[in-house]
């Protein structure tokens, strides 16, 4: 009985969703385009101002100069070398931070005694700005790759740790009880109840962690590197090449966004069931 009452309502919402498909496509492109309007206008204006000779554009190079710099760097192979170096550091640091954060976060979330033992220390460490560790890391681990990767990992660790622990602690007791009534063993409970329940929050934690990873790779490369995008920044400052600095910044933005997007599309199939996720990716 209830079904026959509800079915027409369902069909109606489907019809509404299907109908404005054509205008929906327009809206999907129109919204990001709207967001691009302001930066494109500013870039154009700056280009014109420099072209008219109202500014020499030395400290703030116009977009054409910026792209020419990127193209030069790309042609000489320098760009690839720097990108590979930076990406490698982020990947290694992110990987390390995620593994450590997930492991300790899971232990703290799952096991009350471990949480009481471990969490206060981790929270205290979290209160220290991670950049403050740089001198110590250099003393301990040398100036080369190890100290850089450890710094990035330290940055990634905390949001992942907090995210995993918080997600496990907030798993609905009522859902866990369903697992108990079906007599799931410990591992089955983790695989069939806890992991899927924790996943949405985990993805958010990974994305926050990745953001911090990109932040810390710059700090890491500031502390003495011979290659990497952070090196391009320092090099540009010391040799007075603002176009190179801006080029590195633009590439940071592109890489940061691209890697974040990879996490998003990589996990989207696992989160299809979620109300909020569908709504968000539809709107973006």
């Amino acid at each position: 009985m209830a079904m026959t009452v509800e079915l027409p309502a369902l069909e109606r919402t489907d019809a509404i969703a299907a109908n404005p498909a054509s205008s929906g496509r327009l809206r999907r492109w129109a919204r990001p385009a709207l967001g691009l309007l302001l930066p494109v206008c500013i870039a154009l204006a700056w280009e014109i101002i420099v072209w008219l000779g109202l500014s020499n554009g030395r400290l703030m190079p116009p977009p054409t100069k910026l792209f020419a710099t990127i193209a030069d760097l790309a042609r000489s192979g320098e760009l690839t070398r720097h990108i590979v170096a930076t990406l490698g550091r982020v990947a290694a640091g992110f990987g390390l931070g995620v593994v450590a954060g997930t492991l300790l976060g899971a232990i703290s979330g799952y096991w009350g005694l471990a949480r009481r033992l471990l969490d206060p220390t981790v929270q205290a460490l979290r209160a220290i700005p991670s950049i403050a560790w740089i001198p110590l890391f250099i003393l301990w681990l040398g100036i080369f790759e190890t100290s850089k990767i450890v710094l990035i990992a330290a940055g990634v660790f905390f949001p992942v740790y907090l995210g995993v622990m918080g997600a496990i602690l907030s798993v609905d007791r009522k859902i866990v009880e369903v697992g108990r009534t079906f007599r799931l063993s410990g591992p089955a409970m983790i695989r069939r109840i806890l992991l899927p329940a924790v996943l949405p929050a985990y993805v958010v934690a990974l994305r926050v962690g990745l953001g911090l990873g990109w932040m810390f790779v710059v700090a890491a490369e500031f502390m003495g590197a011979s290659e990497g995008l952070g090196y391009l920044l320092i090099d540009g400052q010391q040799l007075g090449k603002p176009a190179q600095i801006l080029a590195a910044i633009v590439i940071f933005a592109i890489l940061g966004k691209a890697t974040d997007w990879l996490i998003e599309i990589g996990t989207a199939p696992l989160l299809r069931w979620q109300d909020a996720f569908g709504g968000k990716s539809g709107a973006a």
């Binding site: 007791r173 009522k174 009534t181 899927p196 996943l199 979620q274 109300d275």
Partner: protein, 261 residues
């Protein structure tokens, strides 16, 4: 046969939720447990389910002592408690993971059909109405063919129309394999429609107050004078059970203990 022998439960905070509760339920019988809030009826059901341990007394099913969830006992909660990341079909098959895939699929399909949700097999739980979700929960509990099915106020969150619909539906499904049903409710009508016997409980401490046999043929006419007559008896018993301890009524203390880890 399900035997409850002098069950008692004292919560760590000192609340005496259940005291010396003894009863038996025959195979295939439908028993409703009814009582005011705080009378320990949910505590009792959770003890039978093996979710919470009673502090004294025993639960035995066919001479097997029940201290943890058992394959022969299924439970349906007040909320559907579907797993939001599984499709409707996978939710129904949640308790069948040990079966070969083809038998599992077949059982799920039959259950979906039986609860009238065949067209929702691939839907997510969030796409269901409250009544549909509770029907999936019923299917999920019944599909492993439990000997005893426990129901903890299963329809109390639904609107009156859907509730009636699901009560009839439950009886219909029950007739398939005739498991024992133990139903906790605060809805006298629901108890009257479903139960062979109604156990009225008295709060603080939760105790068995009165047992009323409902000798009415099924399907029962909710409007017949005989139905009304039984209903009045239950209501009178309920009134008397609450008489003594209305003054110190406090919110439900029957929620479970902390998380299992």
């Amino acid at each position: 046969m399900l035997v409850l022998d002098r069950l008692g439960k004292v919560y760590p905070n000192g609340v005496n939720a259940l005291e010396r509760f003894s009863a038996y339920v025959r195979l295939g019988e439908i028993v409703a447990i009814i009582g005011g809030s705080g009378c320990g009826k949910s505590t009792l059901l959770r003890a039978i389910a093996g979710l919470d341990r009673a502090t004294s007394g025993t639960v035995t099913l066919d001479d097997i002592s029940i201290a943890a969830p058992h394959a022969k006992i299924g439970i349906i909660f007040q909320e559907p408690r579907l797993l939001p990341w599984l499709s409707v079909a996978d939710n129904i098959g949640f308790g069948l993971s040990e079966l070969p895939a083809d038998i599992r699929r077949e059982k799920i399909a039959r259950a979906l059909d039986r609860v009238g949700l065949a067209d929702k097999a691939n839907a997510w739980p969030r796409e269901l109405s409250g009544g549909q979700a509770q029907r999936v929960a019923i299917a999920r509990a019944l599909v492993p063919q439990p000997e005893v099915l426990l129901l903890d106020e299963p329809f109390s969150a639904l609107d009156a129309f859907t509730r009636r619909d699901l009560q009839d539906h439950l009886l219909d499904l029950w007739a398939d394999t005739r498991p024992t049903l133990v139903l906790v409710t605060h809805d006298v009508d629901e108890a009257m429609v479903l139960a062979d016997r109604v156990l009225v409980m008295r709060p603080r401490p939760g105790r068995l107050f009165e047992e009323i046999k409902v000798n009415l043929a099924r399907p029962r006419d909710r409007n017949s004078p005989l139905f009304d007559n039984f209903k009045r008896r239950v209501l009178t018993a309920l009134d008397r059970s609450l008489d003594r301890s209305l003054a110190d009524a406090d919110p439900k203390t029957t929620e479970g203990e902390a998380m299992w880890w």
